[in-house]
């Protein structure tokens, strides 16, 4: 039945299309923002074609890099501002800028050219959609609020505004969804711009019971509407790209464009090489002495075990301290906090003992003391799995090393269970991995198990590229990935919160 519906629609539409008059004329751009639903029709030169595409690509690549570096929206906006001004300026209608139409034309055309370049594979489509949505968001947020509202009205998103009467009637219910200000909530309800949409359109708001729902309609406050616009943008672009992909073969006929398009898409392949190695710290995380307990949920088993041992014994032996200090340094714990952390963890000894026996070592690891070369290089680097697996196997009473390699199966299983890995299949897999000496595979297996929901989501949403999901070979990489995955939501929320301000 459904399929018949679709066919009928198409028939109607084709007929329509035949009679529509061909609009080979200069498009007018009344709004700064564009949902890119109409393809451009006027002629441009080959040089413009290439240059505009390259300029936009530069912007998109930079945006993608920002997200890989985990920049906050505010930082991203700041970082992008000069680049946007240079390569893809887009001024508000109110600015009265003389180049308004030209700017918008370039924005419009370059978007469509890149669609052609990035429609060919699913991966490219996903990345393109993602960065285009980021770009749109950036502009949407920066837009003049009146112009933005006018633009949103043109989108036909079938939002039904909630009337004053209805607001008043539903005030107690609506009030519960806009926060905690008990006193003036009724007034807040009236001040807010509410709209009604089918609940299926805003599943993320339903999921957390963030909005009031009645008879299938979600009552969305103004501040949440942005996410709906962005969803619509993404969705429409995804669909359009599918259509483009199907139409691509036709384009091969124009052999002037093909090499340019191929070149463009190649330039978009290699994302960000600076992801691994240095700069492992996560800017949004609170990396402090008192937060380590909390963060330890993101630690791989080696560090998890060190942490547990430290908490149990209020002590760690030399190699354990070294392995753990460097790891903590790697996740972004600064020297001062590191000293606080170690001092408070070794709570059975006096200040005096601590200062004499341990303080120096911590500082040394951070390159705060020691020879010139140690200081210059900022102390030791955090150990990789390779190093942990092969050097200094732990003896009795020592907690360093890699549990997958250095623990008996029984102890390993106990540790894993204590860390929430109870799934039989996973435990069995770990057993097989370790038996065949693939210790870091076991580690990755456990990681995948503990983050399976998030990984799936990250993949679905294209948040992480294939490069970012390669096998983990460094405890710090484990941490970073775990933290980012588990906080995908929070980061989103931060975006929203910042928006209001």
């Amino acid at each position: 039945m459904n399929r018949i519906d679709i066919k009928r629609r198409n028939v109607v539409d084709h007929r329509k299309k035949q009679f529509a008059d061909p609009a080979y004329k200069q498009t007018q751009y009344p709004h700064r923002l564009n949902f890119y639903s109409t393809p451009p029709t006027a002629d441009i030169t080959l040089e413009q074609f290439e240059q505009w595409a390259i300029d936009r690509l530069r912007i998109l690549a930079e945006l993608e890099a920002c997200s890989f570096r985990n920049k906050t929206p505010a930082e991203t906006a700041l970082h992008m501002k000069p680049l946007l001004d240079k390569y893809l300026p887009l001024d508000a209608s109110s600015s009265g800028h003389s180049q308004l139409q030209a700017q918008r034309q370039k924005d419009h055309y370059s978007h469509f050219i890149l669609r052609l370049a990035f429609a060919s594979t699913e991966d490219l489509r996903r990345r393109f959609t993602r960065v285009e949505t980021m770009l749109f968001r950036l502009r949407f947020q920066a837009d003049d609020s009146r112009e933005r509202a006018a633009f949103v009205r043109t989108l036909n998103l079938d939002w039904e505004p909630v009337s004053e009467d209805e607001k008043r009637e539903l005030s107690p219910q609506l009030a519960t969804t806009i926060g905690f200000g008990y006193g003036k909530r009724a007034q807040q309800v009236m001040d807010e711009e509410w709209c009604k949409v089918d609940w299926m359109r805003v599943p993320d708001l339903i999921e957390g019971r963030k909005v009031y729902v009645k008879a299938g309609k979600a009552y969305v406050p103004g501040r949440e509407q942005q996410s709906m616009v962005l969803n619509a943008f993404t969705k429409r672009l995804e669909q359009a790209l599918e259509l483009t992909a199907r139409a691509l073969p036709r384009l091969d006929e124009d052999d002037r464009l093909t090499p340019i398009l191929n070149h463009l898409s190649k330039n978009f392949i290699a994302p960000d090489s600076s992801y691994t190695g240095s700069g492992m710290a996560i800017e949004s995380a609170e990396i402090s002495a008192r937060n380590i307990d909390n963060l330890s949920q993101h630690f791989p088993m080696c560090m998890n075990h060190l942490h547990r041992s430290l908490r149990r014994d209020a002590h760690l032996k030399h190699f354990g301290r070294l392995q753990y200090t460097l790891f903590l340094k790697g996740i972004g714990l600064n020297l001062e906090e590191a000293l606080v952390f170690w001092r408070s963890s070794f709570n059975k000894i006096t200040d005096d003992t601590f200062n004499k026996e341990y303080r120096y070592n911590v500082r040394h690891s951070y390159g705060d003391v020691g020879g010139d070369s140690n200081r210059r290089s900022g102390g030791y680097s955090p150990y990789s799995c390779q190093k942990i697996l092969t050097e200094h196997a732990p003896g009795p009473g020592e907690a360093h090393g890699c549990p997958y390699r250095h623990f008996s199966l029984e102890n390993l299983t106990t540790l894993l269970r204590a860390s929430g890995v109870t799934d039989r299949a996973v435990l069995q897999g770990v057993k097989e991995d370790t038996e065949s000496q693939k210790f870091h595979m076991a580690c990755n297996r456990v990681f995948e198990h503990l983050h399976k929901t998030e990984l799936k989501r990250a993949k679905d949403e294209g948040v992480m590229t294939a490069a970012q999901l390669e096998t983990i070979v460094h405890p710090n990489e484990y941490f970073k990935r775990s933290y980012l995955l588990k906080n995908m939501n929070k980061q989103k929320q931060q975006v929203d919160v910042k928006m209001e301000g």
Partner: protein, 542 residues
């Protein structure tokens, strides 16, 4: 429940290689020779060579069927056990006559409401793809599961069931193409699930930490009240919040219920939307023992309404009937731990230590009483205490869902009206308007039905003509080859002579209402399409 329930994702190798022991095509091949009146079906199954091969494959040592299905529908945990009350024999003795098997056959022939089942899934009197592309999965008595079965008519469905005599039938999604043809679509998007009722699953074992009358698979009318509460809360919210009208509640035959939300819009929900609605109803989470209710304040309207609905039940059905905090340990874990003020907590503990065995309802009253007499710390905030009490109420009375069932479009769920093999009870629908009158221990059973119909007819027996009146087609004398029609015979049907009657009548009215709405919606759609609806199609000509 660690093992994921089987899902019908066509791309998943696990599903293709391991779950599907018997393929649709093979099963159909045997349809012609099958004679449902002859010996037990295992003999027929064995007659089909392909099938045997597949079944043996399933017995590969490394993957046990039990493991794969473990936790999939906890209601049937005794399903695989040998102590099957139906005494269904393993498919060894081909000739053996099995009386309980005969009962099941009689049930499928004469009581199972084929016609309404068909209409329910088809949404129209003539077969549509809603029915034709629907996956059924049949669980045979030899532990083989036939996934991806589908039928072009209700009659073929009935015949196949009579031929194979599954002890359980599950219903999956409607696919974009006939599930039996799925192999031709391998690795393609042309074969994907596109519709299924939105389902919910409530199981009393999830209440074991607060259920004192029974545990595990056992239930009684006291703990059934948890289900009643759950249905009230969910049903109300599905109607008022989400605007659904066609919600079928089905007793799972032992200790739980399933909900089938059949509105068209609910059927076409995508997974992320199903997930959203499931988590809308996820209030009690985590493991027993910790803080299981974590909700924002001010309370969401759904939660304040639920609390209003549950208040009475909490007082009577939970506190008084179950007395969940009788022991000091329980009182501590379920109650004291959640009291925000340490002084108050201490005062309560002292009071209860002094009077062991103090009933839960008194303990509940003590909280406010002591708080009012000032047995609280300096930082005490009555608002915190109110919040905590609301949380406690929700933890004890709010529905506890197995959300895996709700989240996936392609999750299979046991069909209404099958027989629970452990109890022999029919999985009957529950009338929402007579919820409090539903007695799970008193629903029709397989054995009872046969007895009832015999008693009713006086001289009429299970052989011959009378059985021909069974709903939707031929009866006991049917040799399987006859073109039994689904025309209604003007005759009192067998189910009408039994205690199954009100349940089938309820189901019939449910289905009728659903079909009516579906028809009206279709008419409306026609109009819209003939009108001026514009669909923009991307043009790339530039």
């Amino acid at each position: 429940m660690e093992v994921e329930p089987p899902v019908a994702a066509p791309s998943s190798p696990l599903v293709d290689e391991d779950f599907v022991m018997v393929e649709a095509g093979e099963a159909q091949g045997a349809a012609k020779d099958a004679n449902p009146a002859a010996g037990p079906p295992p003999a027929q199954v064995a007659a089909d060579e392909d099938m045997v091969v597949e079944i043996q494959q399933e017995k590969r040592p490394e993957i046990k069927l039990e493991d794969l299905f473990d936790g999939m529908d906890s209601d049937d945990d005794d399903f695989q056990s040998s102590s099957n009350p139906l005494n269904v024999k393993e498919p060894v003795e081909e000739e053996a006559y099995d009386p309980s098997f005969e009962l099941l056959r009689i049930y499928y022939q004469r009581f199972f409401p084929w016609r309404y089942m068909f209409q329910w899934l088809n949404h129209s009197p003539v077969p549509t793809n809603d029915f034709k592309h629907r996956e059924f999965s049949l669980w045979l008595h030899n532990d083989a599961v036939m996934r991806y079965q589908s039928y072009t008519t209700s009659d073929l469905f009935r015949k196949d069931v009579l031929r194979l005599m599954p002890r359980r039938i599950e219903i999956g999604p409607v696919y974009t193409a006939d599930p039996r043809d799925r192999k031709t679509f391998r690795n393609s998007t042309a074969f994907v699930p596109m519709a299924k009722e939105l389902c919910f699953d409530i199981d009393l074992t999830d209440y074991d930490d607060i259920r004192t009358c029974c545990d595990k698979a056992n239930i009684c009318n006291k703990c059934w009240r948890f289900t009643t509460m759950a249905i009230k809360v969910l049903d109300t919210a599905l109607r008022e919040d989400f605007g659904y009208h066609h919600i079928l509640w089905v007793y799972s035959g032992r200790r739980g219920v399933h909900a089938w939300v059949c509105d068209k819009q609910a059927r076409t929900l995508q997974d992320h939307q199903r997930k959203a609605i499931a988590s809308y109803f996820e209030v009690v989470s985590g493991k027993a023992g910790g803080k299981r209710v974590n909700i924002r304040r001010p309370l969401h309207p759904h939660l304040s309404r639920s609390i209003d609905l549950l208040k009475e039940h909490f007082q009577h059905d939970v506190l008084e009937t179950q007395d969940p905090w009788a022991s000091p340990e329980k009182a501590d874990a379920l109650l004291l731990q959640h009291i925000p003020d340490p002084d108050l907590r201490e005062a309560l503990r002292k009071k209860w230590d002094a009077s062991p065995g103090r009933p839960s309802s008194s303990k509940w009253a003590d909280i406010d009483a002591l708080a009012q007499t000032g047995a609280v710390g300096a930082a005490f905030d009555p608002k915190d205490l109110l919040d905590a009490k609301q949380d406690i109420l929700l933890e004890h009375a709010y529905p506890r869902l197995d959300i895996a069932v709700s989240q996936k479009l392609n999750h299979l769920l046991k069909s209404p009206f099958v027989i629970h093999p452990g109890t022999g009870r029919v999985c009957v629908p529950i009338d929402r308007d007579n919820l409090d009158g539903f007695d799970p221990l008193n629903v029709p059973t397989l054995q009872g039905l046969v007895r009832e119909v015999d008693a009713w007819g006086g001289g009429e027996t299970t052989d011959g003509g009378v059985a021909g009146a069974a709903d939707g087609g031929a009866g006991g004398g049917d040799g399987g080859g006859g073109g039994a029609s689904s025309q209604e015979v003007k005759h009192v049907q067998d189910w009408e002579k039994t205690s199954l009657k009100p349940y089938i009548e309820y189901f019939r009215s449910f289905v009728t209402a659903l079909m009516k709405e579906e028809r009206e919606a279709a008419v409306k759609r026609e109009r819209v399409e003939d009108g001026d609806v514009e669909v923009k199609v991307e043009s790339l000509d530039f």
